[in-house]
Symmetry: C2
Subunit: 305 residues, 2 copies
Amino acid sequence: MSVLVVGSIALDTVKTPVEEHSDLIGGSASYAALSASFFSPVRLVGVVGEDFPESEFEFWKERKIDIDGLQRANGKTFRWSGEYSWDLNTRQTRSIALNVFKHFEPVLPKAYRQSDFVLLANIAPSLQAHVLDQMERPRFVVADTMDLWIETTRSDLDALLRRVDLLILNESEAREMTKETSLIKAGRRIRKFGPRYVAIKKGEHGALLFGEGDQFFSCGAYPLEDIHDPTGAGDTFAGGMAGYLAGTVKKVHFNDLRKAMIYGSVLASFCVEAFSLARLRDLTMDEIAKRYETFKLMSQFEIID
Amino acid sequence: MSVLVVGSIALDTVKTPVEEHSDLIGGSASYAALSASFFSPVRLVGVVGEDFPESEFEFWKERKIDIDGLQRANGKTFRWSGEYSWDLNTRQTRSIALNVFKHFEPVLPKAYRQSDFVLLANIAPSLQAHVLDQMERPRFVVADTMDLWIETTRSDLDALLRRVDLLILNESEAREMTKETSLIKAGRRIRKFGPRYVAIKKGEHGALLFGEGDQFFSCGAYPLEDIHDPTGAGDTFAGGMAGYLAGTVKKVHFNDLRKAMIYGSVLASFCVEAFSLARLRDLTMDEIAKRYETFKLMSQFEIID
C-alpha cells in the first residue's frame, strides 16, 4: 500500500567539525520519502524551485516515489544551512531562506486523496492539517513535529494531535510539550492530547514507544562509532516507520509498531553514516535485513545458544 | 556460590523535593550486598561504628549475608548527607563525615579468601586492590567506581582495572575516563584499560554492555513513573549483576552478563521506589521474576502472538 509523504524539500549546506558540503538534497520529505520507499510505494507532496536538480526527479521515479504531488514553483528552492558542534550533539542554524516554501500550500492530486497511510513529516502543523483536510479517511496518520511548532504554533499543533494516530517527537520536545521531566510520564501524557501512539526519539539512547494502557516498547540505538552527518536522522526514522507500516500491515497493532520503530532506527543509523542522502541512495534491502538481525541480537534478553 | 562484597556502609540523610529522612542505612556495600543476596549467599566486608543499629546485623543474618568480615570500630559510622534537585536528576552532597571509615582497612577472614566471585563496590581503588591482594585467584571480579576516583586517584584506578573482569560505571564517568563523547567508543576504549567487560549505566536510558570484538548488549530502563529516592540505584545494579553471576553461573559468558545486567536493572528499579533499602527489604523473588518478564516483553523486537 502507498504512503503519502508531505514535508519540506530543501537544498542544505551542512558543516561538521570535519567537512562542509553545500547544495545537498535535504528537507524532511526528502529523507522521509526515500526511507519509506524501501518498504512501500511513496506519494510525495512538496515544493521545489527552478534550481532543484533534474536528476533527483529521475531518482525518485526509479525508487517508485510518485511525484505527481510535487509542485515546481518559480524561484529558488528552500535553503537551510547548519553547523554541528565538535561532538555532533548540537547544531546551530546558520541561515534559512524559505524561497518557494514561503507560499507553499500542499494540493493533493485526486489519486492521493484515498491514501491509507500518511506521513506528515516535519512542517508547520497548519500545513499538515491542510493535507488531512483533503483526504478521505486515511487509515493511519503519522506526524512528526519539532520544538519550533511547540513554541510558536501550539494551538495549531494541539488541533492536529487529535487527528493523528502516531506522533513522533524527540525527548526534549516531549518534555517541553508536557512540562514533565520523566519521559515515561511525558509519553503517557502526550497520548491524552490525542495520538493513540507516541514515539519518543532519544538519539544515541534509542527510542520509546507508548500505546494504550501499559503498552510500552523501548529500544536502544544501533551502536555506531562514527557518525558523519546527523542531518535528517529523525525524518529518516519517521519515514522508515511509516513506510514499514504501509508496506506490511493492514490494521496496525502495537507489535507492528515495535517492528516499524526498529526499521526506523535501522534506516536512521544508515542515514548518519554519510552526508545528505548519500548512504540511503545505495542502500540495499539485504543490508537493512542484516542490520535488523544484528540489532535484534544486541537487544535480546536471552539468547538460546 | 558466594559473592564477596566490599564497600562502604553508611548512615545517610537524604532530602528530595518531597521528603527528608535521616539515619538511613546506606553505603555502596549495604545496597550491593542486599541486592546480591536475592541470588546468592553474600560475604560482607566493611566497617561500622558503635552507633550502627543492631537490628541490621540480625537482618543480614536472616538474608544469608555473612558478616564475619564486618569490622565494628570504636566511634561513629560513616555519615553522608545529600539533597536531590527538583527532578531527582542531580544531587549535591551536603556533608560527609568519614568517622570510622577514615582508617578502614579491609581484612578478609580466612574463609573469604577463596571466594570465586567478588564485587568491589564503590570505594577508593586502593582499598579495592587491597581486597584483591588478600584473595586466592578469584574467578570473576566486578568493580564499581565513581567520578571522584577518576579525578583524584587515577593511577590507582588504572592499576586496579588490569585486575578486573567487569567494570561498571555511569555514562558521564565513561566519557570522563576516556575523553570520548560517543559511549560506543568510550565502552570499547575502557576495555583496553584492562576489564574484559564494561557496563555503562545510563539512568533512565538503561545500560550498555561491551565484551570482546563486537559483543554488545543494550537495554533500556524499566519504565517507572514515580521515583522516590535514587540513592543506591547504581550499587543495587552492581549487586544484582554480581549476585546473579555468583548464584547462577560457573563460567561467565557474554550471554550470562546480559541476564545479569537485566537483573541488576530490575533490582535498581525496585530500589528507587522507596527511601534507603525499604523496598528491597520486603521484595520477593516472585516480584523480581514478574518484573523481569514484563521488562523482557517491553524490550522484545518481535512478539509471537
